[in-house]
């Protein structure tokens, strides 16, 4: 029996020629990422060394990345103190891949990893963040772990007791319709297979729908794989992967071939045709409560948020700017935009997108997670309804259990900001190419 892409990566990383689902392996780690929760990891790391008489040194400082993004700038004295503790640790251990709150290199961890070229096809990436699945977009096996697990990885350089996950093959057929995006595809998939439909499994993406997607869209797909419970999502590396790594992430490495075997075993094969796909929207309070956009049209909203590791990239800001260009957002909404990184922010500035957004009435916030996890900046009031391009709408997720969060694409979010009610972007921005053809 052949192997899937993730099985091949795990075999390589565990020094075996073959692995199969259910087998327990201990893969070597190529990149171990944390954010502010490194403060908790540091605590557990020191616990491990307690009573050993050994110097508490991480296994390999060049393979550790730490990015401040969840609460930047610090929202409380406690967070500020934690961040200080992490900075001290970074210095003491010689960790180079550290991204502090800076205009030249800061941003959301998942965006930073991708755009800095820290993630390579075929590698094993772990992060103390459930959306570490994002990096499967670059052909890595990337998954989230807890803080104690990360402390163990910092110590030993490998993950203990990993059960090789089974894989679900997702075939995305057809061409993407006008103003439908990767976000709509992944929402449709989650709606179809449910919030636990891929629990403990990998989603391996195939088909022309993913072949035609730029890496930015693939990052969105894999980012939300975890919302179906998946251990990871993965796009087998192709020409676009190498283009992104060379041109956008500045890495110069030789290409490898990493494909599933023809006789690889899949636990399930899911086919989805996107050629007629409507924009999708997840209703509160679960991500799999997905409906086609027409079901939500006209619902009044109070706040629109564009950003996050799901949809804060240049393409996302661009589509919002094109929809808002020369128009003005409704007086009944606030609109917050969080670019995923300062690199994205600078490019959006140069392209004039930021100007379009501000002139329409949006507020540009500093790159980071912002209101996505409900700690600070843009918390919703009781009884308010937020429309967001983030990835989670659980009760209380954006800071208030008495508010509602709907999830959608950047195009739907921007169009809805104009009217103050959930709106179809295709009514605002028509596809001229399609129109001339018709």
């Amino acid at each position: 029996m052949g192997m899937t892409v993730v099985e091949k990566i795990l075999a390589m990383a565990s020094g075996q020629s073959v692995v199969h689902p259910g087998e327990v392996v201990e893969p070597q780690v190529d990149l171990a990422m944390s954010h502010e929760n490194a403060a908790l990891v540091i605590n557990q790391f020191h616990e491990i060394f307690k009573g050993t008489n050994l110097e508490a040194k991480v296994w390999n400082p060049s393979k550790i990345a730490i990015i401040f993004d969840h609460r930047v700038p610090a929202e409380s004295a406690k967070t500020a103190t934690n961040q200080k503790k992490v900075r001290d640790f970074v210095r003491e251990q010689g960790i180079q891949k550290f991204h502090d709150i800076r205009g030249d290199e800061g941003g959301i961890c998942h965006q930073i990893l991708a755009e800095s070229g820290y993630v390579l096809p075929g590698s094993v990436v772990v992060g103390t963040d459930s959306h570490t699945t994002t990096h499967g977009a670059l052909g890595a096996f990337a998954f989230g772990v807890g803080a104690t697990e990360m402390a163990s990885i910092w110590t030993l350089g490998r993950v203990l007791n990993v059960e090789v996950p089974g894989t679900i093959k997702i075939n995305i057929h057809g061409n993407m319709p006008w103003l439908v995006s990767a976000k709509d595809i992944i929402l449709a998939i989650i709606g179809k297979i449910s919030a636990q439909g891929a629990n403990f499994k990998v989603l391996e993406f195939h088909g022309e729908g993913v072949d035609n997607l730029p890496t930015s869209g693939r990052l969105t797909l894999c980012n939300m794989a975890v919302e179906a419970g998946a251990t990871s999502g993965i796009v087998p590396p192709d020409k676009e992967t190498w283009r992104y790594l060379r041109e956008e992430a500045g890495v110069d490495i030789s290409e490898i071939v990493l494909q599933a075997d023809l006789d690889a075993h899949y636990d399930q094969i899911v086919d989805i045709d996107i050629s007629e796909l409507e924009p999708q929207i997840a209703f509160p309070h679960t991500v799999d409560n997905v409906h086609p956009l027409p079901d939500a049209l006209g619902l009044p909203i109070d706040q629109v948020m564009i950003g996050s590791c799901t949809n804060g990239r240049l393409e996302d800001i661009e589509i919002a700017a094109r929809i808002l260009h020369g128009r003005s957002i409704s007086r009944r909404v606030r609109m917050l935009v969080f670019p995923a990184s300062f690199r994205v922010y600078r490019k959006a500035l140069q392209a004039g997108f930021i100007q379009d957004l501000i002139e329409a009435g949006a507020v540009i916030m500093n790159p980071g997670c912002g209101p996505c996890l409900g700690v600070h900046e843009g918390v919703l009031g009781d009884g308010e309804r937020g429309l967001s391009t983030t990835n989670r709408n659980f009760k209380g997720r954006m800071g208030n259990p008495n508010a509602e969060v709907f999830l959608c694409s950047p195009a739907v979010a921007a169009a809805s900001a104009l009217t103050g009610t959930i709106t179809d972007p295709r009514q605002i921005l028509t596809n001229d190419a399609v129109n001339t053809k018709a």
Binding site: I48, R71, T148, E149, L156, F200, G229, G374, R392
Partner: protein, 175 residues
């Protein structure tokens, strides 16, 4: 025998178990006070109306969402036993790493106030006298629990590996 103090449905996320706004905690001992912070049970816990060793019965996909380990350490702090039809992956691993008692019981039926009796391969609900099969943990995970949790287990491996490194470098020393 242990009493069920909370029954809760499917897809309970870590945002319900431990809201993100309390995530600046660094010590596992700081977290129990925020367990289920937005549910009424939080008050009862903090007023010590719920004794240690009681049971939460949950549906499918308990602990979905964020990787925050605080969700597991908060429940561990009150010494809960969590019985669920299924668990989300990262929460499940965090629970094992920290030694939170979790039991996968796909058919469990119980309501608040019921008393459960635990056996190695099944649970009996003493109120209904019904028996429900337990799905055993994978052997690799059980080994971790038996080894005293991930910190102790990693420490043990660390000592072994550093010791063999030092003996090897002593062997190769040029004298």
């Amino acid at each position: 025998m242990a009493r069920v103090v909370l029954t809760i449905g499917n897809d309970i996320s870590t945002d319900t178990i431990y809201p993100g706004r309390y995530m600046a905690t660094v010590l596992p001992t700081e977290t129990p006070q925020y367990a289920f912070a937005d549910l009424p049970i939080n008050q009862k816990l903090n007023h010590h109306e719920i004794p240690p060793g009681t049971v939460i019965v949950a549906g499918e996909n308990f602990g979905c969402g964020s990787s925050r380990e605080q969700a597991a350490s908060a429940l561990k702090g009150w010494d809960f036993i969590v019985v669920a039809k299924s668990f989300a992956r990262i929460f499940f691993q965090n629970a094992i790493n920290l030694g939170l008692r979790i039991i996968i019981c796909p058919s469990i039926e119980a309501k608040e106030g019921d008393e459960l009796e635990f056996y190695p391969d099944h649970i009996i609900n003493l109120n209904t006298q019904e028996s429900f099969a337990i799905q055993p943990l994978p052997p690799a995970r059980q080994a971790l629990i038996d080894g005293g949790g991930l910190i102790a287990y990693t420490r043990q491996l660390l000592m072994q590996e550093r010791k063999s490194q030092t003996t090897e470098s002593a062997k190769s020393a040029p004298f």
